[in-house]
Symmetry: C2
Subunit: 252 residues, 2 copies
DNA sequence: CGCTTAGTTGATTGGGATCAAACGTAGTGG
DNA sequence: CCACTACGTTTGATCCCAATCAACTAAGCG
């Protein structure tokens, strides 16, 4: 039993490395020793369940969180009781970057399904970044990536119609899941239609109708939360993603 | 003449400090020596004119830019020739943070009126941040602030109607200008109606009609690009900004 | 097995886009 | 200086996409 526990702990460590640290380390080399130092400040938490909060708006900011398995949504209360879903966070993705500035969380983060979450105390991460330049650089890149992603969302909400939005959402899910080694064409959506609609700036009914339409058009198979993408290429076309190597007619 | 030039140069240095550095230094203390080191890596550029580009999408990322005077818009090409205006940048604000990740600019930055722009070579800033922990912290805060601002925009584009969007835009301009010592109620908009509409996800005509309506309702005086805010409070009400200290009825 | 919540489908409506046209305003060159 | 052009802005008329309203079905759950 004791033996098993040790093995289990090691497995967690390995899993956590693969998942938590890759965002910070993968793109370019931290030496093994630095990875160990980084690994040393990461707190593993017990599994969290649907509806649990990582943090709520207004709370003091202490840590960043990394999704190891499962999924999390972040959302901000809008005036008049409603809320705006700001994002869905899949394994390997980081949560809480927006709270650094005010030292206080402006949004809330709620677990969508049973999930394993790592916690990284931010002040310790900052200390480490001070002494490891490449880690500092990775952190700048991480923050910057979030800004770039937000810009894509601004374009989506500002310029795209309902169909394009849902297609872009599905493509995004597909890409992010496949990046983590999961299927790009067969996955479960852990969020409700309502949450998808909220995120995309659409009514629930519109989302539902579009799922039906995509299915009718042979782009998807949808059964409840289970999605099978049948025609990724067409979906990308709808989402307005231009294939770089394809024929470009309107080169402007 | 030589004398005058020296004075002028010093004035520029002082102006540049007040303006460029405040974003990086103001919130908490860098010691004077560190401010000098930071000041040392900032490049002053000659005035730029309407239509000039700070950078274009696809270019290699080398520097961040800070608006000293004037204004700049950033925009990304959307598929099918259109473009999405990502932001308007007023004095004291930083441009280019989204390019850190890919080491390449994803959007373009175009000067809206005659402007003075400072350039900060990013790799030198990173070096400096490594050796000045409080500067590193300021930079994290800066990036984080951008993410927070983007989240506000997501809420605006996802949940607010045309009227609320334009009101929010005007309030934002008012606040940001007054933060720089300019009037909060009397200012010139350097961007066209078309650019405002693009930014807010609205058609030009809608923006124009709303300006007219706000004027009819006694909220504004508008003459071309000149805006006088007559009723800031009501405008904030429309924008959905809840006054904290006012009576809260629906505390939920 | 009721009860509640999530999801689907249909009917209707409305806000803002689009189309169309007039009107400055700025710039350009004769 | 004024005609000419081009562009930005305003205003009006019409249309359409997606929201809303409404009814129903399917799941989850105590």
């Amino acid at each position: 039993m004791a033996q098993r526990k040790v093995i289990s702990f090691e497995n967690i460590r390995v899993a956590c490395r693969n998942c938590t640290l890759s965002q910070l380390c993968l793109p370019m080399g931290l030496v093994a020793e630095d990875v160990d130092r980084l690994d040393g400040i990461i707190k593993r938490s017990r599994p969290m369940h649907r509806g649990d909060h990582l943090f709520r708006g207004g709370e003091r900011f202490r840590s960043l969180f990394v999704v190891k398995t499962g999924s999390v949504k972040t959302y901000a209360p809008s005036s008049e009781g409603g809320e705006q879903v700001l994002g869905f966070h899949l394994p390997g993705e980081i949560i809480g970057l927006d709270a650094i500035e005010k030292d206080c969380h402006a949004c809330s983060a709620k677990v969508l399904e049973t999930s394993a979450i790592c916690e990284i105390p931010f002040h310790r991460l900052e200390e480490l970044a001070s002494s490891i330049p490449s880690l500092q650089h990775q952190m700048f890149r991480l923050l910057s990536k979030e800004i770039g992603h937000d810009a894509e969302m601004l374009l989506l909400l500002g310029k795209k119609n309902a169909e394009e939005r849902l297609a872009a959402f599905l493509i995004s899910m597909s890409k992010r899941l496949s990046k983590r080694g999961l299927s790009a064409t067969d996955f479960y959506l852990s969020m409700s239609r309502h949450e998808i609609g909220n995120y995309l700036g659409l009514a629930v009914e519109t989302v539902s109708r579009l799922f039906t339409r995509f299915q009718d058009e042979g782009l998807l198979n949808v059964d409840r939360k289970h999605v099978q993408v049948l025609d990724l290429r067409s979906l990308e076309g709808i989402a307005g993603i231009v294939q770089a190597e394809d024929h470009q007619q309107h080169s402007n």
